[in-house]
């Protein structure tokens, strides 16, 4: 579960990127976050990852109050979360397999375990055949799939995606969204920040709309832009 209570974040005094946000996302939900550029969507994601500290308010992720997590415990906390970004953020000098296996190595998984899990993830995202390719040899959509496989290989409870289709054409964007939906159907909570209104409308999920750091609408299904 994700819960924000009266959360505000100001990068510099007086100009809040988030202003008194209250939000609750239940386990297993699929949620879109939409809004204008600069409305505070990425800031929200960073707060959930404890990459940033809120100026005010309380954030609870997976039953843990983020303010109470000490620096040393952050890695362990983050292992419950998977993250995907617009720019993929793959390691350029490693092939597909090693990029995904890297996430396993980071959490100290055994080679045996990662040899079992990585191929499963790669076939789930449809890239089993390209496990030896390097990121530069892949299309944007394929690179994003690798990133998703990497985010999921440690079996996080929550997947956070900040504009995962921002660099993709319509077809690839659709495929990635379908993949995220599939992952959600397997039980992972999925939070997707996007600008792609066509997809948002068709997928018929909960949509949280932000504007200037404030949640201005929160509708479940049947989303219409006003």
């Amino acid at each position: 579960m994700i819960k924000l209570e009266n959360v505000s974040k100001a990068y510099s005094a007086g100009v809040p990127a988030l202003n008194d946000v209250n939000l609750e996302i239940a386990d297993g939900e699929f949620v879109f976050i939409v809004g204008d550029s600069g409305s505070g969507k990425s800031t929200l994601i960073k707060l959930l990852l404890k990459e940033l500290e809120p100026t005010e308010g309380t954030i609870i992720v997976d039953g843990r109050r983020l303010g109470a997590i000490r620096h040393k415990q952050i890695p362990k906390f983050r292992r419950n979360l998977g993250v995907v970004f617009q720019d993929f953020r793959l390691l350029k000098d490693r092939n597909v397999y090693d990029n995904v296996a890297f996430a396993q190595r980071v959490i100290g998984a055994s080679v045996r375990e990662s040899k079992r899990k990585v191929p499963v993830m790669l076939s789930m995202v449809g890239l089993a055949a390209k496990y030896k390719s390097y990121p530069r040899q892949l299309s944007g959509g394929e690179q994003q799939r690798v990133a998703i496989a990497r985010a999921l290989v440690n079996q996080p409870k929550i997947l956070l995606a900040d504009e995962p289709t921002g660099n993709l054409d319509a077809n690839n964007a659709w495929e990635i969204m379908k993949l995220l939906e599939e992952i959600n159907e397997r039980g992972t909570t999925v939070v997707v920040v996007t600008h792609n209104m066509d997809i948002v409308k068709i997928m018929n999920k909960r949509v949280i709309t932000m504007k200037k750091g404030v949640v201005i609408s929160d509708v479940d299904g049947d989303f219409n832009e006003d």
Binding site: P75, K76, F77, R78, V83, L91, F102, A103, R150, N154
Partner: protein
């Protein structure tokens, strides 16, 4: 690559350190030897009794700065004198027959642990009853003492400079490494890597640079040292009484562990500190 350059410079630092260390230990050994050969001689009042001489001997024995003392009887003094001045010409010496011209020259020869304490000892000895004269080489004593402390200061200075240079180098290498791998580090952190996991490769790199950067110059120095000592003793054998080189084993017995600890320690600390500074992970 950058780490190769810093390994080379690290090697140069440790090489200089080792070179300096070898020279200093040899110098110190030579100075020590010169010191230990330098005695303070105590001559007695005329007509002194053996009991009084023994009493003075007891006083000398109590002093901590004394390493050894030796009673030289008039007969021994005469024998030595004869040896020095008459040499093989025994007949000339025989002219003195039983009439020892040095009858009054019984003495104690005192050897010291620490030549810098010489003035104190001399003052003490001069204050004793029955002591006519204390002979000592003041200039030599002071020069050796000064020389010793000069060597001490120079070593500390050079070692400090070398340490700073080496730490700076490692720090630079690590900083560059962090800049190059910034993305990777960011990804690692988001995936949930511990600080330890992020730091480990940099620390390993630093330690490796330190290890290789000390093993190579130490090995080089070892062979050089043996070659040079052999060469000098061979070509300048007339200096051999002056220059008494320590055997390589003796110098490197200390130099190798010190050099390794320095290299690895600098590598470890340099990288550790830099990472702490650059990675608020």
């Amino acid at each position: 690559m950058f780490s190769l350059a810093s390994m080379a410079t690290m090697s140069a630092c440790i090489f200089l350190f080792g070179l300096f260390f070898a020279i200093v230990t040899n110098f110190e050994a030579m100075v020590k030897e010169a010191e230990s050969g330098m005695a303070v001689t105590v001559l007695f009042d005329e007509g002194i009794t053996q009991e009084q001489i023994d009493a003075i001997g007891q006083e000398i024995k109590k002093r901590v700065e004394v390493s050894e003392y030796e009673f030289i009887s008039p007969e021994q003094a005469w024998e030595e004198f004869k040896g020095d001045y008459f040499g093989d010409n025994a007949e000339a010496a025989a002219g003195f027959a039983d009439d020892n011209p040095l009858a009054n020259s019984a003495s104690y020869a005192i050897y010291m642990n620490d030549i810098s304490m010489q003035p104190v000892l001399v003052d003490f000895l001069e204050g004793l009853d029955g002591v006519r004269e204390v002979r000592h080489s003041e200039v030599a004593g002071r020069t050796l003492t000064d020389f010793n402390s000069l060597i001490g200061y120079i070593s500390v200075g050079i070692i400090l400079i070398l340490l700073l240079v080496a730490v700076f180098l490692i720090s630079n290498t690590v900083t560059t490494g962090i800049a190059v791998r910034k993305d990777e580090i960011g990804i690692m952190k988001l995936i949930g890597a511990t600080d330890y996991f992020v730091r480990a490769p940099f620390v390993v790199e630093g330690v490796l640079i330190g290890l290789i950067g000390s093993v190579v110059p130490l090995a080089l120095l070892y062979f050089l040292y043996r070659k040079v000592v052999f060469y000098i003793s061979d070509k300048f054998s007339f200096l051999s009484s002056l220059l008494n080189f320590l055997p390589a084993q003796k110098v490197f017995h200390t130099l190798v562990p010190v050099g390794l600890v320095l290299g690895v320690g600098i590598g470890f600390l340099g990288s550790w500190i830099t990472i702490r500074k650059h990675l608020k992970v």
